[in-house]
């Protein structure tokens, strides 16, 4: 299932004035894998995603995509290469209906290049393609849901909309920032198969999560961050058995709970 490393980060460091948000963090993801990134609040997970995807300029370090250097590229160029991300604080276009939200990513150069949603190679009418994508992602096609204003959609649908926005770009890798947070149990239950299906389609995923139980069901490897430093990395079982991780979470009940289920 997994190939060579598709995304590598080497010694990523980010300082905000006097505060070191990231301290020489290195990781890599193999193609087709799912890498989970966990850690207590404030450990720098979102900052890491921002640095890797170009939204924040890192103080030092390198990022490589399929061996090519992408360190100082602007965020839209990085997205154009197929490295997409979701936002922890959701950012749909609130004043537009759900399916119109997808018109914008479908307008991008990458979508025009990769196209092929209908009739192979040529992008159909963007509105229809938008509805198609939404159906793939779990919006019921024949209901009024895809036509509702994004401002009136519940969180579960908004998270899916974020993923839909990434999918419209036919990505090679999606960096998800807390897709499971804020969802009810039933919403999560329907998200996990979606994630698994994305992996089966060949998309690599990097997932920042707090909900460890669901993450460990899908992730191949997990990396733990604490205070901006990489604590450890390995399979979910290895990471959970690691004493350092337990200490970092201060023996939180969640760890205990996962241990009893894993």
């Amino acid at each position: 299932m997994s190939g060579g490393p598709i995304l590598e980060a080497k010694e990523v460091t980010k300082a905000f004035g006097g505060i070191l948000a990231l301290n020489r963090v290195s990781f890599h993801v193999n193609e087709g894998d799912i890498l989970g990134i966990i850690g207590p609040n404030g450990s720098g997970k979102t900052t890491l995603i921002n640095c890797v995807t170009g939204f924040i300029r890192m103080t030092s370090g390198r990022v490589l995509f399929r061996g090519k250097e992408i360190t100082r590229r602007p965020p839209h160029k990085i997205a154009d290469m197929g490295i997409t991300r979701t936002f922890q604080i959701m950012r749909p276009y609130y004043s537009l209906p759900a399916y119109k939200n997808l018109v914008i990513p479908l307008f991008s150069p990458r979508a025009k290049r990769t196209g092929g949603w209908r009739g192979g190679g040529k992008l159909g009418d963007r509105d229809t393609v938008g509805i198609d994508i939404l159906e793939e992602i779990g919006f019921e096609r024949d209901s009024f849901v895809p036509y509702k204003m994004a401002s009136s959609l519940p969180t579960g649908y908004l998270k899916r909309l974020e993923l839909a926005r990434c999918l419209a770009l036919k990505p090679e890798i999606i960096l998800c920032d807390e897709v499971f947070s804020g969802l009810s149990m039933s919403e999560i239950a329907s998200m996990v198969p979606l994630i698994e299906r994305l992996q089966m389609e060949g998309i690599t995923l990097v997932m920042i999560e707090h909900r460890l139980r669901e993450l460990f069901r899908v992730a191949n490897r997990v990396m733990v961050l604490n205070f901006g430093e990489k604590l450890t990395e390995g399979t979910p079982e290895e990471v959970m058995a690691d004493e350092k991780v337990k200490v970092a979470y201060f023996g939180s009940e969640e760890v205990e709970e996962v241990m009893s289920y894993a």
Partner: protein
Amino acid sequence: MHTEERRKERLDRGIKVRTVGIYSLMSWRELSYLTVPRVVLILGMLLLPLIMPSMYWQRVISIVCIYALLALSFDFLAHYVGLVSLGGAFFIGTGGYLAAILNTSFGLPFYLTIPIATIVGAVICTGFLLPCLPLRGVYFAIVTLMYPLVLGRIIEALNVLGGTDGIVGVASFPNRWLEQYFMILMVLLFLFGMRRLVNMDVGLVFRAVKDNDQAVKASGMSITFYKAVAVFIASTMGCLGGACLVHIYMWSGISQFALDFSIIPIAATVIGGGGTLVGAVLGCFILVPISELLRTFGTLRIVFYSLILVGFIVLRSEGVMVYGQRKYHQFERWVKV
């Protein structure tokens, strides 16, 4: 004691709901609901020159149209792209001076100077505004505020481009009817064109840049590029206005950079209803004639508009067109809670 509570409810009118999509062809009544306002607007504007009492007022129509172009560009930039342009005078000046130079130094006739000045002027304006496009909105406001003021002073100080006297002897339109109808046609063209544009896919991208530029970046598009395109479109309208203006007044000078051109489009948009594009044009039809009537008061006019503008903003008034559209499409009633 049982107190009854009521709240106000706003619902779309029945006829509005019935006119969605192809259902509008159901009957004459539905068709007219949609088309009558637009037809009234177009016919009204086309008939205007014919009913004006004197040549003076016919000239006023042309001037209104120039301001309308500027107001359209302001409304588009501010409410559809998120850039506040405080210097409409910059576009007028660039288009104006270019047309004047092309006419006096190169001898080109008006039907060549106007298109060339429009396009070249738009390129120049976009170029000047390029440095502030990747930055936050307040920088665009600052830069557009500064350019007309500074360029005016530079022209005066270095005595280039005619200095304080300006460039005289610009050819005028051969025929006053041509002048007015050209201006009116341009305004109608750009009004309906822009309304179409903002609902097309490109228009959605512009609105996305205004609402949420991080998401646009994450979708693989350069916001600097799209802002530049929007500024180019807006400058086209402004430079067109400027080029026509010098042919109307047969002169181009520093007053082209004057404050009237900066404040009236803003006031017209706010009064007419921001975000509707039609409101901006309507606002001009209201404000500019008043401005002409108050000409004897000198710059007190500007004080007058500025204060009205502040009043509208502070009282968060929605503007004439927004109010009108709301009344047209929706009705209100009290509902028991």
